[in-house]
Symmetry: C2
Subunit: 350 residues, 2 copies
């Protein structure tokens, strides 16, 4: 499954592609511009450096490689990587060791949150890049049970359990105090009303009820509904995202200036932009690769993302992947991301 064969009338010859492949692989390995002499030896085609130079010149005209300065070798451009990834890449299956360590660390018995954490730690550990796992809004998230507990005078603890066995809780101050039995009554009422319904739906209905609070409901009920409203909102807006192994990125020369690293880390801390990019991968089938500027964020210009969604029972429940320099080892990384997604999905399905 090396590549789709390209039409022979393609603007770039079969041989040139062969060189491009060798160049990208070499550059990924060494991290330094590749010269004609090196490349001539690498391909095994027994051609002189001069010939290689001519080919490289063509590739440069096509915008697939550039040389950083007159007398340096060539480096792939984003278009070059793209071509490489799309049709030149040979996958390299993850090593036994890697698979083993993935398998053993995904303990089925832990809860979703720590699985997510483990996944991103593992990803970063194995790939030596930054691992990221996102847990997006569920489209389908069901109200399962609510519990209202008095905590102290005028403070109520609301606990909401949703379909995935996730627990959301919030402490809320109230102006007037509830008696324990009032709270119990209220939670019974809410449970009767909403159990089994979609969270989004529940939120809407609660809002409605609060608006036209009809005479039939007593005051306490209305206030209980307000409490429920709050915790339901918390449950809806939650989308978590873990990033692990950020420090791995410091190893890569091309990112290793203080300013650059600081920018990157700041992006990671805010998470917003990352979430935004990952959001775009939810729908996609299979592994997605964003190279350099393709992510659409100037600050990730010299980085690539490799992501894939993971599914439980054919429903997408999240996205995971890695972030690293454009010069990452796609052949190795892509399969690892793929496998991790599968194993995480399996662990989540139980």
């Amino acid at each position: 499954m090396t590549s789709e064969t390209r039409p022979t009338d393609s603007p770039v010859s079969e041989r040139a592609l062969h060189f491009l492949k060798a160049l990208v692989e070499r550059y990924i390995r060494e991290g330094q511009p590749v010269g004609s002499r090196t490349l001539a030896k690498d391909t095994g085609l027994d051609l002189s450096p001069a010939t290689v130079r001519n080919v490289m010149s063509d590739l440069e005209d096509l915008g697939l490689v550039v040389s950083p300065h007159t007398s340096a070798g060539r480096v792939p451009t984003v278009a070059g990587y793209r071509l490489f990834v799309n049709s030149l890449l040979t996958w390299r299956a993850p090593s036994e060791d890697d698979i083993a360590s993935l398998r053993t660390r995904f303990d089925v018995r832990t809860d979703a949150k720590s699985l997510i954490e483990t996944a991103s730690t593992l990803l970063s550990g194995i790939t030596h890049l930054a691992g990221v796992v996102m847990l997006p809004r569920h489209e389908r998230n069901v109200f399962r049970q609510i519990e209202l507990l008095p905590l102290s005078e005028k403070r109520v603890l609301a606990i909401l359990v949703t379909s995935e066995g996730e627990v959301h809780n919030r402490i809320m101050g109230t102006e007037r105090s509830f008696t324990p039995s009032q709270l119990e009554q209220a939670s019974n009422y809410l449970n009767q009303m909403f159990t089994g319904q979609d969270i989004g739906e529940v939120r809407k209905r609660l809002l409605d009820e609060l608006k036209h609070a009809h005479a039939s409901m007593d005051q306490q009920m209305i206030r209980a509904a307000a409490l429920a409203q709050e915790v339901v909102e918390a449950a809806e807006s939650r989308d978590d995202c873990f990033i692990a192994g950020q420090t791995n990125l410091m190893e890569f020369g091309e990112l290793a200036s203080m300013d650059r690293i600081r920018q990157l880390f700041d992006i990671f801390n805010q998470k917003r932009e990352i979430l935004h990019i990952l959001d775009r991968c939810i729908a996609a089938e299979g592994v997605q690769i964003f190279i350099g500027e393709e992510s659409g964020y100037a600050l990730l210009d010299d980085c690539s993302l490799v992501t894939t969604s993971y599914r439980v029972d054919d429903r997408v429940v999240g996205v995971l992947g890695v972030i690293g320099p454009t010069r990452m080892d796609y052949q190795r990384v892509v399969p690892i991301v793929d496998v991790t997604a599968r194993l995480l999905a399996a662990a989540l399905r139980q």
Copy 2:
């Protein structure tokens, strides 16, 4: 409250101390070795550089300052900082702005976890250092209510609420399945048994019961107790710790080498060592300052910690502080840490 006055027969003269103070303040401001000429101007004592040199030479003999190389100025040693902090420091009260931004951001209505997060973000934002907030094991943590919910065949969700309105939950697989009513019965039983008791106590009693599971308990009860045991352990061992603004540390020249920063970030990610240091501050009264190697961790040699515990109703509930280079602005930072602790405590007390 500039300083405790030192005994006049102290090995280091009043004037020398004055110089030391000026030197430390200058070095903290500029970050560069301070020379005799500069210092002579700084103190306003109208002495020649030569005289200053003599004094500096004395201070060097006492191990309070060093010069990085022959023809550089002097830099405070750890002992120098220590002396400065103990008896030369003039506190600088936080600015109106800082206090205001602290006050408004501590919204009483949010739960403990997000308060903690806010606190560390604020600390780092205001001081331009890394902010850290720890939520240690409570000595007094009370079992309030447990809830066991069937999630699917052979999976049970256990939710435990403890005294502080904190919610712990865990999903557990069971070999045989429970009926909903069995679970309800079990949770009622557990609640009756344990409500109001200390968590540590509960854990012990559960262990006991499991060991000598007496005939009087039916099989299901025993298995329910095992579930409870798990979530109780989770509740006991929890000690969280947030670190924010790590990237601020990259601004400081003395830490700004890739290797150093990477080490630091790795330490922060592990959290273990940090927690360990913070643990030592729990008992202490008031603001604690660890300068350089005083923290006991070689990897934090060129860093200082400023921490204090925060209390609710005279019980220590946590520790917070900042981490930065030894050359941090103690005069400003210490009061800020102090105030933040008070405000956080107030917000937690409600």
